[in-house]
Amino acid sequence: MVTIKIDGKEFKVDDKKNLIDAVKEVGEDIPYFCYHPALKIVGMCRMCLIEIEGNPKIQAACNTPVKEGLSIITKSARVKEAREGTMEFLLANHPLDCPVCDKAGECDLQDNAFSSGKGVSRFEFNKRNVPQEEIGENLLINHNRCIVCYRCVRFEEEKVGESNLGLFERGYHSLIGLAKDKLIAHNYQGALSDICPTGALLNKKTLFKSRVWWYKTAKSVCHGCSTGCNVETNVRDNKMYRYMTRENREQEMYFLCDKGRFDLDWINENRLQSYQEKGLPVESSKVIPSILSKIKSANKIAIIGGAHESNENLSVILEEAKKWKKTVITEVRVIDSQYEAPKQVDFLMTSDPHPNTKGAVDLGFVSSGKISDIVTDFNKGEIDLLIVIKENIPEGIQQGKGLVVVLHTNITASVKDADIAVPIKAFTEQSGTFTNKKGVKQEFETAMNPVLGMPSSGDFFRRLSLELTRKEEVLVGNH
């Protein structure tokens, strides 16, 4: 911790941080475009210019090391003039696209132009015009809006590891373009359009769908894999539109891959909203008695799956299953990648597509064998009741050997094959915690409203226990 002076006031800051971050932590603000905490510093945008006492010229704050006794000025007339000048240069060739640009409302250029720009432009010539083109399977680039901050090229080279983008020409003619002949096809096209401070890089999947000021946000965790990147859910009219990254400095989470970001259609469409018996909708009062009688007469019960459920739901399930006083085998690991330590597919995504495998394993949701043992036991007739929580029915299960109950959020093939299907809330409709592959428990909040009356998986098991232990009233007396 060193002491630095900002505009004459002394502050204690961490000297391992960049000056822009250190200044933001103590409450002051320095505008920037090309600086990003996870990427190399380039100093290309010249927006973070500040005065340093003892230095005759104005310097870029992103490239200034934090040292003891540093004294900077961020509010003088010279700094104001520098910021206005940089803004005027950046806006000189920037098109008047705000009504049609998707980034309006979350655009760094809009925000910084409003706070530190001059308000009038002296550019009276024709602006340069390069047509928009497609550079990825999900990525569009609009060259007119690019301010050449170099964030996209840096991200590709440093984080993703490929080098598809490059900066061509120089000066007035600078263009960011594809360095190879093929379109970009990696898993981070959504992240590229996220870090772009203007609307130059856009997603094709969310193009023109909605304006950002209509979204309600909630803090949440991505469900795509066991890394558990922190996200902010964007919901409008109770439909999930997209995920945005939520920075988590302690965990070094700054980005989001495409698989989690765009895999959201299952939350909005094709939801299971009624109990089903062999694929046909039915009332719960008709199917719950058959489950209860099976529990009462069962030798062994198996509960598999559950890696999509929150820790709170899983603890309720284990608690209620103990009350049944039967042998209950629980197994959360249904696919091979859950048995071993998670392997990275690329720098964020792991091979395990479940968000809470480690949480379930920590709570004791494991058996001594593997899923294939449970399948053989079921086919032999030793396990009478198989409850599957939001997974596919395991291969090799023979129909008719026992009762198969599937708890799911969507209408899938396993729901249609199951003897009884139970609708449950998706994780966005409840709050809870997920434990990621590193063992960190991360909270997520309720983002949307569920259909009224929809139980969560914990609620369903509680209802089963309640009905099991309910005593019939015995009427005594003459009647």
Binding site: D97, C98, P99, V100, A104, F208
Partner: protein, 175 residues
Amino acid sequence: MATINVVNVAKRHTFKWYEKFYFYSISKGLGITLKHFIKSAFLGKRVTLEYPEKKRQYSSRFRGMHSLKRDEQGRERCTSCFCCMWICPADAIYIEAAETTPADQHLHPEDKYAKTFEIDLLRCIFCGLCEEACPKGAIYLDGNGEMATDNRQDLILTKERMTDKFGGPIIGQRN
């Protein structure tokens, strides 16, 4: 309370000596009636307007039915920026945006246009905020105010009913 420092701010009309006579006051009232009778019976200065043969002339700022303007090349001005939908205090506007294809570049100047543009006239309060908010001069409330129908479906204005059929001035203007 003791009434001190009371100032009389309203003086009642006190009758003068000639106004106290009965016939004087009556004839004064009758004279007003006679004046209005002569005006409407003989001089033709009636207030009633014979609608629909004669219609009232409204000011240039009168807010009537909505219309979507075109520019001087016949292209639609609306680029579906959602400004009017955002500012509408009654949530009467519903817009869906779509990307312009090369096939209809002659209709749309920019790469975004309004695929659906509906105004629910039963919600609209005709405040004119959408006209003020539009950055392209696309929507104006310059139609007439006669919008009566006999079913609810006709009162949801679609884009076809609202769009001007031909081009307009360089800067979008009211009629």
